[in-house]
């Protein structure tokens, strides 16, 4: 197993862990096909991921479906078990806490989901949606104090106060996602995890939500993990980025560096697949020879997981590449034959 290490990785010392989130060699394994007769087969959704998110920074996580980006997010908020490794938040270990201990922590670590409607209780009015986290985490609040906090948060997320009496089905997608964000930040968390939080929205609304998240981050000094399949969105919102392929981090570093000078062939493939309005038109030639399906994460391939799809693969790729610094100390890639910056120009 390769050592997946990111820049600024604290080497098992607790002294500088007080800053933000630190994830050390975390693996998330699910069991599938479990029945009376068999214990099922393990799906290794995340393998040995390490990274840090300094306080007030945004880490973007990008990858295709099945790469483990959501499993990782769910593990960080205790919705999925961390099967190996450790997670620290402001110096405190938070992986695999008992539910009771985690409840206290959730005030500090909140999540915004993809589908703004299914993540809101259809039977609750907006007021109660926003009141719920307050009742859970700040039970001593008086009704009046609660009402003040709720009207403040509505203003923060750019909604009118009269929306309080509506149900979620009466909201537009953008409004519903603003409520979802409001619910997440009303307890003043330190870390916000956004899992494809703008993917279900129209672009005209998506841009306004991204701007809202950016300004919230500045105002509340939030740390953020922003998961998306859209490189354009990641570049807009994230400071650093980790590219995930089949459960492993294959490239990471400052977002402009990684997306401007990709070192890993997979990152380069993602960039080429990212279509923009002013970009190169697609030609009638098929440049990727045979379409290859994603390998399975129940039986991940030996060595570099990307080698079956990689045009640069050679014999060495049968052994697992480690994350190593490339163009700078901050920029890491797990590839035996990383792309040099001269090649991309």
């Amino acid at each position: 197993m390769s050592e997946n290490t990111l820049p600024n990785e604290p080497k098992n010392t607790t002294s500088d862990l007080k800053e933000g989130l630190s994830v050390e060699n975390v693996s998330v394994t699910y069991m599938t096909g479990r029945s009376l007769l068999s214990s099922g087969s393990p799906v290794r959704a995340v393998r040995n991921a390490s990274f840090t998110v300094p306080e007030g920074h945004t880490l973007g996580i990008v990858g295709e479906s099945g790469c483990g980006k959501s499993a990782l997010a769910r593990a960080l908020v205790g919705l999925a078990p961390v099967s190996a490794g450790r997670v620290f938040w402001r110096g405190q270990q938070i992986s695999n806490l008992a539910e009771k201990e985690f409840r206290e922590l959730r005030k500090n670590i909140q999540m915004v989901f993809q589908d703004p409607y299914s993540s809101l209780n259809p039977k609750l009015k907006v007021f109660d949606v926003l009141a719920e986290p307050l009742r859970t985490h700040m039970p001593d609040l008086s009704k009046a104090e609660m009402a003040v906090l709720i009207s403040d948060i509505l203003e923060t997320v750019g909604l009118q106060a009269d929306i309080m009496d509506r149900f979620s089905h009466e909201l537009s997608g953008g409004q519903a996602q603003r409520i979802g964000i409001g619910r997440s930040v009303i307890t003043q968390p330190g870390l916000l995890i956004c899992d494809e939080s703008v993917s279900a929205l129209d672009v005209s609304v998506q841009a306004t939500i991204l701007n809202l998240l950016k300004s919230l981050q500045a105002d509340l000094d939030l740390s953020m993990i922003f998961i998306s399949h859209d490189l354009g969105v990641i570049k807009y919102i994230a400071d650093t980025v980790a590219v995930l392929y089949l459960g492993q981090i294959v490239e990471s570093g400052p977002v402009e560096d990684v997306l401007g000078n990709p070192s890993h062939p997979y990152t380069q493939l993602l960039l080429r697949s990212s279509l923009s309005p002013g970009g190169e038109p697609i030609t009638a030639t098929i440049d990727d020879a045979a379409p290859v399906d994603l390998p399975s994460n129940t039986a991940p391939p030996e060595g570099c997981a990307f080698r079956a799809r990689c045009t640069r693969a050679k014999e060495d790729c049968i052994s697992s590449p480690e994350l190593r610094p490339t163009s700078s100390q901050m920029h890491h890639a797990a590839c035996h034959f990383p792309i040099l910056s001269e090649e991309t120009n």
Binding site: T208, L210, L275, P277, A284, L294
Partner: protein, 321 residues
Amino acid sequence: MLDIRNMSVFFSSKNHGVIAVDDVSLSLGAGRILGVVGESGSGKSQLFKAIGGLSHGEVSGSACLEERELLELTPRQLGRVRGKDIGYVFQDPMTSLNPFLRICTQLTEVAIRHLGLSHKAALDRAHGLLQQVLIPDPDRTLRSYPHELSGGMRQRVVIAMALMAEPKLLIADEPTTALDSTVQLQILQLLKTLNKNTGVTMVLISHDIGVVSSVCDEVLVMYAGRISELADVADLIAAPRHPYTGKLIASTPDVELPKTTILHGIPGGLPAHNTPRERCLFADRCIQSAAVCFDERPPAQLIGNTQAMCHFPLQEEISLV
């Protein structure tokens, strides 16, 4: 080739009616690729469902495919047109595939029914088409059931199925939206190749202006059931004439742009269904709207080759880079 005149689609319900498509006219030349962009509720899907008789609303106006009026056909005749003359590819391949039948049965059925081929000839054709859509092992795929294939493979099969009866027009409605970006690129390259090699006319409907501008020759931008702008793709990107198009492009995250570029988005939302029709439906969200925009339906204005439905179309060249 395809000529749509004053088409509208109306949905009536107990309390109120909704005009999903409002007086749309356009024509498309043979062998061209038309992109249709719009956000949810723009009517982009309804318009092209309606020409194939797949709309549940009340359809009015005219739609001619090679001089043949489609909107006067009986449901039975339309059923023949759909397999034979118009092929459809939808976002979710499973809406087009029967989970209980092998791929070979589903593909050959189309050719046997619409082209009158023998089973053997239909199977050969299916095999050839699967090769054409770059399926690595056509024999195995023909024997498979849909659930045994990945999402990208299923979408290839659906494209092959849509092409089985050699349609003149292929309508692809968000064909790559559910797919990963690397697979999306392959499918779009495939569509482009099919267009070049077989000359099939295509309509590519997408919410993603990046997808549309990378593949299409001309682009229709729709908003709230109406045409906002109809233009050649290069003109649309370099010099959008409708303020909505300009805002849409400026809201789209783009990995090529510097990180410091600010996406503004468009505040507000779609107009309510009971908004008066004799006005511009984008006026409430438009930064340059004037009194006339709220009182009169905007006329179609022609600037170069671009048609914009706007009282005050943008005139100057805008540089996006």
